[in-house]
């Protein structure tokens, strides 16, 4: 009898305490972040956008919609997500199309690890916890995480799955601190620090290109075709002294996809921007100044593409418009 009493009280006390901690965590995170979550904007945002940028942290930190909008005279949104590979890139588009008019243009930005989905299919599942009732979100999470059904039905597990950084942000938020870097329409400023010494960076990680990853890319292309959305691929700048072990294979694959589906690729891998160490926080991420330079160049290229409205078969832009 004592055991059952013990279990019952422990469960009640623990659940109550965890509920309190969870509400504090959410409050802290809301205080800390100064912009709305991208997933929330994609699913429930009221605005319809002309241009939608989808990609990873390299999109989030690189594409400034304020600049894009001012040059293209259109309404754009940066739906980049930290750590995203093709699964999350595609998911953002699916979420957006559920309740919005299809955008005129989707710009999908890739990195060498974009099609490597086996190692880490979803970067931060906890970011999706509050959207688990959405069928598209739940389908993707349950496909790659066996715990998804638990996450859906046991809300306080959010606190268990949150990363250290997210927990620290919640604590900072509760203490009244706010995120230093400003955001605008999904874009995040990435500060002003830069690579001090121009030395070689060897990325020897063996990023696989998984067939399921390529299938998801094909799904994204099909979705755009079905919704009459123009699709553009980009590979945003990386520091010129960085060498990826798997770079050649990656571009071979991506170029083949572009050729097959007649999708232009704005490849900034060898762009002028790549040679300025003062533009880079680290070899794969631009700082705010670098992002400004890139956004100007990207906006001009998008303008040229949309205004000319030409079919750019097999044309891989490497224009140095900056």
């Amino acid at each position: 009898m004592r055991l059952f009493k013990y279990i019952l009280i422990v469960v009640l006390v623990s659940v109550s305490l965890l509920s309190i901690v969870l509400s504090l965590y959410k409050q802290g995170r809301n205080n800390f972040n100064n912009d709305k979550s991208t997933v929330s904007e994609m699913l429930y945002g009221r605005d319809n956008y002309d241009i939608l940028f989808i990609g990873s942290s390299r999109t989030k930190w690189h594409v400034n919609p304020r600049i894009i909008d001012s040059i293209t005279k259109m309404n754009s949104y940066n739906a980049g997500r930290f750590g995203a590979n093709i699964i999350e890139i595609n998911l953002m588009l699916q979420c957006y199309l559920e309740k919005h008019i299809p955008p005129r243009l989707v710009v999908a930005d890739f990195s060498v690890n974009s099609f490597n989905i086996t190692d880490n299919p979803i970067y931060s599942p906890v970011d999706y916890f509050e959207y688990m009732n959405n069928a598209a979100v739940y389908d993707v999470l349950s496909k790659y995480h066996e715990r998804a059904w638990l996450w859906k039905h046991v809300p306080f597990l959010e606190i268990c799955e949150a990363s250290e950084i997210q927990k620290a942000q919640a604590v900072f938020g509760l203490l009244g601190k706010r995120e230093i870097h400003k955001g605008y329409k999904g874009y995040k400023e990435n500060g002003s620090s830069y690579i001090a010494t121009a030395s070689k960076y060897d990325d020897n990680f063996d990023f696989k290109i998984d067939q399921p990853g390529l299938n998801t890319l094909q799904q994204l292309i099909t979705t755009c075709k079905q919704n009459n959305i123009q699709l553009l691929f980009t590979y945003s700048p990386e520091f010129y002294l960085l060498h990826h072990k798997t770079e050649a294979t990656f571009f071979k694959t991506l170029n083949a996809v572009c050729e097959k589906n007649k999708i232009p690729l704005l490849n900034y891998r060898n762009h002028e921007i790549c040679k300025r160490n003062t533009f880079f926080v680290d070899p794969v991420h631009l700082n705010t100044e670098g992002a400004t330079a890139f956004s100007i160049s990207l906006a001009k290229n998008i303008n040229a593409y949309l205004q000319q409205h030409k079919q750019l078969n097999n044309v891989y832009y490497t224009q140095n418009t900056y």
Binding site: L3, V10, V21, E164, I165
Partner: protein
């Protein structure tokens, strides 16, 4: 099956419930089936290896008991050879082939290479082979009767709480417990549950948290600043490995206790040891007892004719074998040699923990010295090869770069490190001074509820749940 997995969260209560509702007569069968299921979560085929060794040692035990002295030795040798042979084959074969191929290359045979067999080490093999050897030796010595019930003997080897990473139990401790009827004792179950929870905290909150820091540093030792490296070497890795393994042991102990079994406690606050000799009597106690009883003592006894050298040879042999038991590679041999050298120095200069404990200052110096020596020797334990060990030592002592900026400028790193260090300190102090609150069967219900709820809260709020096997599984 991992203890820190969702499957275990279902497996454990189901098995415990079944264990208590079925009659005592059939409980061994329940545990045996559960243990087989627990093991098959990895490579099911390796169950056959386990069964083979069980049959060999079970038969050997009976034959040793029945046979004449001359034959008994032969049977013991066959049993030990079978166990050691299988262990060596799975654990060291690839390494031996690699070394042989490297040697062939050195002597100019570049077109010839010995073939590799792509074999995986059956998980926990080092543990259950040592437990099996312990059984046959004890039967041989006449200190343990040969087990006639094959199922009970199989359970002695396969009892799921200690199947994968010990403790390595003597037959005298574990075998009789399978025959004793266990009653449903609420107080004991609560104590077992609290011990398990504390084990989970050590593993999931501390070891896995430290693991991510340690892995990051060791994956790129060349770029890590000396301060980061120093913190990793002196603090993070030693406590990661301690909390990982002692966490596993606590979960094993607690799970067994819930069902009424008492396993050997593998750790007794080793980082409060005053000498290295004392450290090794408090760290992985069941393994060190095994080496003491079956390697050190017999060897020292056999060599006693050569005087003090016998102790020296016995110490070095024991620690080198212990190093090799832990892993394949020269780094583990060096790790063993370092322990042997320090213990020899302690023996030579008669540095005893009983003497040091008399003065508070000597006590503090003893603890700091012992912890530092262990931490530095663990560089060889953690490094993937000797080259990396030397690189780490060089970055720490020769080619140094002690800039605080690498650690202190990033506020998230600071927060992460502070949380990790706080948990380490809190756990060590709790273990040293308050562990009795977990073990006390006479706590009031409210006290037990407060302790358990606090541990649940810590576990769920600060646990790292995207991980990770236990380090000692690889051994």
């Amino acid at each position: 099956m991992l203890f820190n997995s969702l499957q275990f969260l279902v497996f454990f209560p189901v098995v415990t419930f079944l264990y208590f509702i079925i009659p005592h007569k059939y409980r061994w069968l329940c545990l045996f089936v559960a243990s087989c299921y627990f093991y098959t979560a990895y490579v099911p085929q390796y169950l056959l290896i386990l069964f083979f060794l069980i049959i060999v040692d079970y038969t050997a035990g009976i034959l040793i008991e029945k046979s004449k002295p001359t034959k008994r030795k032969l049977i013991l040798a066959i049993s030990i050879t079978s166990n050691v042979g299988i262990l060596c084959f799975f654990k060291y074969f690839t390494y031996i082939i690699d070394n042989a191929n490297a040697l062939l290359q050195q002597i100019g045979e570049r077109n010839f290479a010995l073939p590799h067999l792509n074999i995986l080490l059956p998980i926990g093999l080092s543990f259950h082979t040592f437990q099996a050897i312990s059984y046959t030796i004890e039967v041989y010595k006449g200190k343990q009767k040969a087990e006639r019930h094959l199922g009970i003997y199989a359970l002695y080897i396969m009892f799921y709480p200690q199947l994968l990473a010990g403790p390595i139990e003597t037959p005298q401790n574990l075998l009789p417990q399978f025959y004793q009827p266990k009653n449903f004792d609420s107080d004991r179950i609560i104590v077992g549950f609290k011990i398990m929870l504390f084990g989970f905290i050590k593993k999931v909150v501390i070891a896995d948290r430290l693991g991510s820091i340690v892995n990051e540093v060791y994956q790129n030792t060349a770029d890590a600043g000396s301060l980061k490296l120093l913190l990793t070497v002196l603090l993070f890795f030693p406590f990661q490995i301690y909390c990982d393994f002692s966490g596993y042991s606590s979960i094993a102990l607690g799970a067994a206790k819930v069902m009424g079994f008492e396993l050997t406690d593998n750790f007794k606050t080793p980082y409060f040891s005053l000498t290295l000799t004392q450290f090794w009597s408090r760290w992985h106690i069941s393994l060190n007892n095994w080496f003491r009883n079956y390697v050190y003592k017999p060897l020292a006894l056999r060599l006693r004719g050569i005087g003090k050298m016998s102790i020296l040879i016995a110490v070095f042999t024991t620690f080198i074998l212990s190093g090799i038991w832990h892993g394949v590679g020269w780094t583990f041999v060096i790790f063993g040699v370092i322990q042997a050298v320090i213990i020899t120095v302690e023996l030579r200069f008669k540095i005893k923990s009983s003497e040091l404990s008399k003065s508070p200052l000597k006590k503090v110096i003893g603890i700091i010295t012992t912890c530092s020596l262990i931490a530095l020797s663990l560089i060889f334990f953690r490094s993937i090869n000797i080259h990396q060990s030397i690189e780490v030592l060089t970055r720490l002592f020769v080619n140094t770069n002690y800039k605080a900026s690498g650690v202190l400028s990033d506020k998230f790193t600071m927060v992460a490190y502070s949380i990790a260090i706080s948990f380490v300190l809190a756990t060590m102090l709790f273990e040293k001074y308050s562990a009795h609150t977990l073990l006390n069967k006479n706590n009031t219900l409210s006290k037990d509820v407060i302790i358990t709820s606090t541990m649940v809260l810590i576990l769920l709020c600060f646990g790292v749940f995207n991980s990770l096997s236990f380090i000692y599984f690889q051994f």
